[in-house]
């Protein structure tokens, strides 16, 4: 299915309803400016952090005179720093993302999620980048926090073409190295890669101190596999076609699928990835609401 070059995937009303919810990171971020996210450094927020002995060179304005008055020693009063975050949206644009049996495709669904999240992030001052990937990184937009950057992101999402094989494992390794440390990386993909390869990618990202969230997009037909006639399955990613009698192969298909999903879930637990299995017949607003609320409860500690 080809996606019309429009922005129908972006719904302002959904954004309006979600804007009350903050997008938070689960771990401290290293932003360039002040923001809503915890920073590993001390800063000028209103939240007290600790007393520290004065050392020459410290700003005298930060001396706590009351402490000096009580104990005749110089102490510097420090506060937590609040910073913004870098969010990188990794959207899978491989051929399999063009599949959809419920009126939309997985790619379109990913577009909606990505557009909404990017708008919300920029609105709260976070920098948002985008990587459209398939067998490699097709398009990459570095994170920026300007309001005009939203247009760039929307245009890029709108112009993404679903084609090519899924090469997510290579792409994620590459992003782990290229994206600066402590970013929020949100992967929107059908994840048709082996769970073991997935584990390596996630561990690599975790090692680079990124906060990784995965939206695993699945179509109901891919799960149900409810066919009754012999079918010739054409690979959307250009692979070999398979002729199968669904009634004969369905059991084994489900076994393979079930085994795969179990393995993916296990990998995500072991690698501390915020894994979300999304069936694309669900409203993306609901999915995002759950995502934002859940993250607000688990806001990153300094």
């Amino acid at each position: 299915m080809s996606e019309p070059n429009t922005r129908s995937f972006f719904d302002p009303q959904v954004v309006a309803r979600l804007s009350a919810l903050p997008l938070t990171a689960r771990r401290p971020m290293l932003g360039s400016v002040s923001g809503k996210h915890a920073s590993p450094h001390r800063g000028a927020s209103v939240e007290f952090a600790e007393y520290r002995k004065y050392v020459p060179g410290d700003d005298l304005r930060r001396l706590d005179w009351r402490a000096y008055g009580r104990c005749d020693r110089f102490y510097v009063k420090e506060f937590e720093a609040d910073t913004n975050l870098r969010m990188v949206l990794v959207v899978d644009t491989s051929g399999s993302m063009d599949f959809g049996s419920v009126g939309t495709t997985k790619l379109n669904y990913a577009r909606s999620v990505a557009a909404t999240l990017s708008y919300l992030a920029i609105q709260q001052g976070d920098a948002v980048g985008l990587a459209c990937v398939a067998d490699g990184i097709h398009q990459e937009i570095p994170p920026r926090r300007s309001a005009s950057h939203v247009k760039t992101l929307m245009d890029t999402l709108s112009g993404a073409v679903p084609q090519g094989e899924t090469g997510l494992e290579t792409v994620l390794h590459e992003l782990a190295e290229t994206v600066r440390q402590r970013a929020l990386i949100i992967v929107l993909s059908d994840m048709f890669i082996e769970p073991d390869a997935m584990r390596d990618c996630f561990e690599h990202l975790r090692f680079r101190k990124h906060d990784v969230s995965v939206f695993h997009l699945l179509d109901p037909e891919e799960i149900g596999f409810d066919f009754h006639r012999p079918t010739r399955f054409l690979d959307m990613e250009g692979g070999t076609a398979i002729f199968a009698e669904p009634t004969e192969i369905a059991d084994r298909y489900h076994d393979a699928l079930s085994e795969y999903l179990t393995a993916v879930k296990k990998v995500s637990l072991e690698t501390a990835v915020d894994y979300r299995r999304v069936i694309i017949d669900q409203p993306y607003e609901k999915v995002l609401t759950d995502f934002l609320v859940d993250r607000a409860f688990h806001r990153g500690k300094r």
């Binding site: 048709f192 054409l234 002729f243 199968a244 059991d251 393979a256 999903l261 669900q282």
Partner: protein, 721 residues
């Protein structure tokens, strides 16, 4: 296996219907763009042996269902051996029924082989059906057509007889019927007990019959329903001879033979009941072996009874048909020989040979007449007429022919005028004296030692015909059968074919110097005595016949060895006039010749009292050996033949409809198919994605993402909105 509705088998290709539907289904595949190919590839790599086997089993079960249905509708038949060849309803069904006494051996429930065979074949044929029914029974061997099976099975000609069966003859009759009527596909059902005596496996007729069947344009299938089992113990009795004697009182000297199959208890006694003219005598015969012969057992006769009949019987056993034998007795006729000679000296040796009776007791009278005194010739009670004179002229010839027609025997010798060098005119029955060969010594080159006057004796020793020297002989003209031939080709003894009676021409005289017939008198004596015996049989007051024979086969032991086989052309006519004196009741008059008993002809024209005739089963009928399987296979080699062995009294039919079996098979196949088609319990889609509270995806819009929260190992499930 055969089918009553064989046309339904044309629908057998429908068995391929499941395969065709499967192929069409495969051909109607849909094409689908698919993203999750990795699962399909994994599914393909998984073990699929059972799935493939299941698919094949389902296909086979479906085919079996259709096949079972078609076979059930085609109404298959099965015999005990499932050996009936496939075929539809025949055009003509020919039943060859062995009615011989051995077929009356009873089995379980007292039912004889013949009755069992009739019932089972009737059941089988009723099931198989046919458009035309023909019965060839072993007694008459005449094809009888019937409109319905019931009429054929109930016909009187299917009852047991005392006549032996001639199976090759019955098959020859079948060949003749099929050749004459040219029916379509035919089935021949043969019901027999496989007795070798009836089947005559060494007969040359089998080859001719096989070839005749093989050449037939139509299909002829043979079904043999055999009852080869023998009774454990079966006794039989037959009369070897019965003659009246007046020595030491009026009595009958009875010779009989009792035989028993199986193990004979040593010292066992067999009670034999002898019944003569209503008076019963019982005799206990000690069975010292399987066969005991009682000779000249004296049964006193009342008063002046000089002729009559009797019956011997033994207690009932498994076969009632061989428990009785009939006999007749009477005063032997006088041995009166009429010798017509023109040279008594030359015929002296013949006169002597005729005058001496073989037993030395009977009185023989030789009445010598000259040709000039033939006006007083009386031939009515003459045993034989010996004629050594010019052949009968027109005046006397009719009387001689009448005598011959009545069964009389005539021996012609060359007249002295011929041996004197004169030509003799005249002819009798187309045969005439030609010329005299006087200076040519000849020996007998060959002669018929198997039958007629020069036959070997009962012990198998041949007559010394080859020792005869013939110095002078006459030549014969006309049509005749040579019984002895001289070197050079001229005949010594010939027989002229007649309807009844015997007419012989001997081309040499018994005069010394002309031949050694007198000096080597054995041949002359035996030939003359045999002619006398044949004549006595013809004029005698009693007769013994084998059931089913035309009359010339005397059952008497002595007579059988000396039987000349003389033609008795009017025997059949005479038999047609028989009335039953003794024997089984309820026998049709047309069946008298095939049933044991005592009969007497009634000649209303002449009002002459006809001789009593005792009819008994043949000697080979008491031989109990049966055909071996290999012999039977050889006899039917090259023919479409199937065989079912049964036992007398068997209750099961030889042909049964087995459509129920196929129906059950079909139901079983349906159940198997249904069992195999039960879908395996699939893991639900909700279970696969880890959401047990959600039954489906398309119908529910209340699902939320399945989420794993990092660090907490906690999965939250959002409830329906």
């Amino acid at each position: 296996m055969s089918f009553l509705q064989i046309g339904m088998l044309a629908a057998l290709p429908l068995v391929l219907l499941p395969v065709i539907i499967h192929l069409i289904n495969q051909w109607r595949y849909q094409t689908k763009q698919w993203g999750a190919m990795m699962f399909l590839l994994k599914a393909n790599k998984m073990a699929r042996g059972y799935a493939k086997l299941r698919q094949w089993l389902i296909m086979a079960a479906r085919m079996l269902v259709i096949a079972g249905l078609i076979f059930a509708i085609a109404r298959p038949l099965a015999s005990g051996l499932l050996g009936w060849s496939a075929g539809g309803r025949p055009d003509t069904t020919i039943l060859l029924l062995d009615r011989s006494p051995s077929m009356q051996q009873a089995g379980r429930g007292g039912q004889s082989k013949l009755e069992t065979g009739r019932r089972q074949i009737a059941d089988a044929l009723k099931t198989l059906g046919s458009t035309h029914w023909v019965l060839i029974d072993s007694a008459t061997m005449q094809p009888q057509s019937f409109e319905s099976l019931e009429a054929m099975i109930d016909a009187p000609s299917t009852d047991g007889t005392s006549a032996a069966a001639d199976i090759p003859g019955m098959l020859q009759a079948t060949v003749d019927y099929l050749n004459n009527n040219q029916p379509g596909a035919s089935e021949v059902w043969l019901c027999s007990d496989l007795r070798s005596a009836d089947w005559q496996p060494d007969s040359g007729r089998w080859k001719a019959v096989r070839e005749a069947f093989a050449k037939m344009p139509q299909t002829v299938r043979f079904h043999l329903v055999a009852y080869p089992e023998s009774a454990d113990s079966d006794a039989s009795i037959r009369v070897l001879g019965a003659r009246r004697t007046q020595a030491e009182g009026n009595a009958v000297l009875l010779s009989m033979q009792v035989s028993q199959s199986g193990t004979v208890a040593s010292g066992g006694m067999m009670p034999v009941r002898i019944e003569i003219d209503g008076a019963t005598t019982e005799l206990n015969v000690e069975m010292t072996g399987n066969q005991v012969t009682v000779r000249d057992y004296r049964v006193p006769l009342a008063g002046s009874v000089d002729r009559g009949w009797g019956k011997v019987s033994i207690p009932a056993d498994s076969n009632a048909a061989d428990n009785e034998a009939y006999f007749v007795f009477a005063d032997p006729p006088a041995r009166r020989v009429v010798l017509v000679t023109d040279d008594r000296e030359a015929s002296a040796a013949i006169e002597i040979a005729a005058a001496i009776s073989p037993d030395g007791k009977s009185e023989s009278t030789v009445e010598v007449m000259a040709p000039e005194t033939l006006d007083s010739l009386v031939l009515d009670d003459a045993a034989v007429l010996i004629w050594q004179a010019a052949l009968p002229d027109d005046e006397i010839s009719p009387a001689v022919k009448r005598y011959v027609d009545g069964g009389g025997q005539v021996l012609f010798f060359p007249p002295s005028s011929l041996s004197g060098g004169l030509d003799v005119e005249g002819e009798f029955l187309g045969v005439s004296w030609q010329s005299w060969v006087g200076d040519e010594k000849a020996l007998v080159e060959n002669w018929r030692g198997d039958q007629d006057l020069l036959a070997a004796t009962g012990s198998g020793v041949g007559l010394p015909v080859g020792q005869l020297e013939i110095n002078e002989h006459a030549k014969l003209g006309g049509e005749f059968t040579q019984l002895a031939t001289l070197s050079g080709g001229d005949p010594l003894l010939v027989r002229v074919p007649t309807a009844r009676g015997g007419v012989y021409f001997c081309t040499a005289t018994a005069a010394s110097g002309q031949s050694t017939l007198a000096s080597n008198g054995i041949v002359l004596y035996v030939a003359v005595q045999r002619a006398i015996r044949q004549g006595l049989d013809a004029i005698g007051q009693t007769g013994n016949r084998v059931a089913g024979s035309t009359g010339e086969d005397a059952v008497d032991e002595d007579a059988s060895s000396e039987s000349s086989g003389a033609g008795q052309g009017s025997a059949a006519e005479e038999m047609a006039q028989w009335r039953q004196i003794a024997g089984p009741t309820g026998v049709l008059s047309s069946e008298y010749t095939y049933q044991a008993g005592v009969y007497q002809a009634t000649n209303e024209t002449t009002e002459k009292e006809q001789p009593l005739v005792a009819v008994n089963r043949s000697v080979p009928e008491d031989q109990r050996d049966t055909l071996t399987d290999s012999q039977l296979s050889n006899l039917f080699a090259g023919l479409d033949y199937s065989r079912v062995d049964d036992s007398a009294g068997g209750l099961e039919g030889i042909v049964q409809e087995i459509w129920r079996f196929f129906l059950i098979l079909m139901i079983a196949a349906m159940l198997l198919e249904a069992l195999l088609c039960i879908p395996r319990r699939r893991a639900s889609a909700a279970a696969i994605v880890g959401r047990p509270d959600v039954s489906g995806f398309k119908k529910s819009d209340s699902r939320s993402a399945d989420r794993t929260t990092a660090g907490s190992d906690r999965t939250k499930e959002t409830s329906a909105a």
